[in-house]
């Protein structure tokens, strides 16, 4: 790889004939960037363009001869088919619930961990651990070890207090998936918010305290405004990952009982039902949803980023 990046550099002196030096130097500066840039364009943009094209075709791979241009018919079907429409709704519900719950929990944990107390490092490590379990493994843990109605930990603990013995996944399938995801994503939110808390201006807080401000006033008028952009960043990055969630839905319910979100539906539509056109249209809709979130995300990241650049 280094060879490809250096080749244009080494070649520059010989190619000076007739071309202005400045342009060559500009290319020489760009050269180290090009391999990464070209790689990204080829591997991510080309397949998406192909998805876009396929989404306009009526194409089931079991009937390759019946392939035909279908215009917007696939989009119409995705938006009117009750199952597919339900998966759009499920995606929104799942994403909003998980992001909000993990953000609130993450905030509470970050505020607690921002204080000094005995063993803070250990507690921090314990809290990060759920985020570091392989997602499929975490989903298996919730499905079999915690939720199982016969020998799961939850019903085991309920047994001691003589509580009911619900079948968690059958009784509240979407909630079951959400709970496992909140468990995995709370540490992520906590880490971002903790970084935000630690970048506060402590002199300002001292000054407010000397002036007689209560803890709540300090939190409400100093900490929360400062954390706003970190909360936004956590929410938006969390959304981008959770909108795309496949592992938990696939593992815990296999998309059953009304938990199929768009990524799972796309997977199933093309992998099991072989409906290429339909799957692509659903895929394009996921992209449109992501673009809406991403536009906000990019704005937040760029405002944080501009701050950094102007500081440097």
């Amino acid at each position: 790889m280094t060879a490809t990046t250096t080749a244009p550099m080494a070649a520059t002196p010989e190619r000076t004939r007739g071309t202005p030096n400045a342009r060559l130097r500009a290319w020489a500066t760009r050269a180290p960037l090009l391999p990464a840039l070209i790689f990204m364009i080829v591997v991510t943009q080309l397949p998406f363009v192909a998805t876009l094209v396929i989404s306009f075709f009526d194409w089931n791979s079991l009937y390759p001869d019946a392939r035909a241009f279908a215009g917007l018919a696939n989009y119409g079907e995705v938006l009117t088919d009750p199952d597919l429409r339900r998966s759009v709704w499920t995606t929104i519900l799942l994403t909003v619930a998980v992001v909000l719950a993990s953000l609130v929990l993450g905030l509470v944990l970050a505020l607690l961990l921002d204080r000094r107390f005995r063993g803070r490092g250990i507690v921090r490590t314990l809290l990060i651990a759920p985020f570091l379990v392989v997602p499929v493994a975490a989903a298996l843990l919730w499905k079999h070890v915690l939720y199982n109605p016969e020998y799961g930990l939850f019903n085991g603990l309920l047994h001691y207090v003589g509580g009911p013995q619900p079948d968690w996944i059958s009784d509240a399938p979407l909630l079951a998936v959400e709970a496992s995801l909140v468990w995995q994503w709370t540490p992520f939110m906590m880490l971002i918010l903790l970084a935000g808390l630690q970048s506060r201006d402590h002199q300002q807080i001292e000054a407010a305290r000397v002036d007689g401000a209560s803890d709540w006033q300090i939190f409400r008028h100093l900490t929360l405004p400062h954390l706003r952009r970190y909360l936004e960043l956590g929410a938006l990055l969390g959304s981008i990952y959770i909108v795309q969630n496949f592992d938990a839905v696939f593992t815990i319910t296999s998309g059953g009982l009304g938990t199929a979100n768009l990524p799972y539906t796309v997977y199933q539509t093309f992998y099991q039902a072989h409906e290429h056109g339909l799957a692509s249209a659903a895929g394009v809709l996921v992209v449109i949803g992501s673009i809406i979130i991403a536009t906000f995300a990019l704005r937040v990241v760029s405002s944080l980023f501009r701050e950094e650049v102007s500081r440097g």
Binding site: P35, F48, T51, G121, V134, L233, S302
Partner: protein, 300 residues
């Protein structure tokens, strides 16, 4: 870890010694201790499922599948033996090796591509470098499902289905934007004077990158590598669709347990723990840089 455990925020107020200050300071301290206990309780609560998974993995299958749970059952490594296929059953080794190869190779490729790019975007910025940086970021926001079908068709038609090297390329594209962003912020901290001095001595770009920039930015590069490794190791959707028998990765191997019933509870736990072990190790090692990587370098 590196905490000063005795320091209280109020020490200064108390030291000033006015009687008016003492009472609020004392109640403040009591509440501080209470909040410390609350943090401990929540920390343990969040860790409980993992602790329970460890305990279950060390029980025999009958002891693992009881209600109420058996806390005091004798410990055994049978779950782990079962997982490694000692008593028959599919061996996880091919999947573990595939995951190792895919994760390490793609991490290496990411570093080779991202390092020069980060250099061009930080130390010697090209024109419109912020636009380029944001292009990288925007690709990260393109959902995996957006290109999955064409990639599948491509793999099928070129015979690359069930080939670990296709995964290597895809994992590289998945992690390259994060790596570029992270490394850019690490390279920005390398003093320009050092680089200029090396160039005055006649060093060419590759030499400068390898001998001057890389050693200074080494800790940041290592953290970047660990995070890329974690993401590749965890990935399921690409692996599930594009691999089969030969190139199956560890998460795909785990999906074999999705429908398994109580008979294999200890084995499921052992499998989950063994497969999570590299990620847990890499994650704890990169703890401090984890946020920066996951937030695409936006938060330090």
């Amino acid at each position: 870890m590196s905490d000063a455990t005795t320091d209280m925020p109020d020490t200064r107020t108390v030291a000033r010694g006015t009687t008016a200050d003492t009472r609020p300071a004392r109640s403040h301290r009591a509440r501080g201790a209470g909040l410390g206990v609350a943090a401990w309780l929540l920390g343990l609560l969040f860790f409980l499922p993992i602790a329970w998974m460890v305990l279950t993995s060390l029980h025999s299958e009958p002891d693992a599948a009881t209600n109420p749970p058996s806390w005091a059952a004798s410990l055994t490594l049978d779950g782990y033996r079962e997982f490694f296929g000692v008593g028959g059953g599919a061996s996880p080794w091919p999947a573990l090796i595939n995951s190792t190869v895919a994760s390490l190779a793609s991490t290496l490729l990411v570093l080779l591509l991202a390092f020069p790019a980060a250099y061009a975007l930080s130390i010697r910025p090209v024109k419109k470098w912020t636009d380029v940086l944001f292009f990288f970021l925007s690709t990260k926001m393109l959902p995996v499902v957006a290109g999955l079908l064409p990639l599948y068709l491509f793999a099928k038609n070129t015979g690359l289905l069930d080939n670990i090297w296709l995964l290597v390329l895809l994992y590289t594209s998945m992690n390259l934007p994060i790596a570029v962003w992270m490394m850019r912020s690490f390279l920005a901290e390398v003093p320009v004077a050092v680089i200029e001095a090396a160039q005055l001595d006649g060093a060419r770009l590759p030499t400068v990158l390898a001998r001057v920039v890389a050693p200074i930015a080494a800790p940041g590069i290592a953290a970047t590598a660990l995070i890329c490794f974690i993401f590749s190791w965890n990935e399921l959707l690409f692996a599930r669709v594009l691999t089969g028998v030969v190139a199956e990765t560890a998460p795909v191997f785990l999906t074999g347990f999705i429908t398994s019933q109580g008979l294999f509870l200890a084995k499921v736990c052992a499998a989950s723990l063994v497969i999570s072990l590299p990620v847990l190790a890499a994650g704890f090692a990169a703890q401090d840089k984890l946020v920066q990587g996951l937030s695409l370098g936006a938060v330090k």
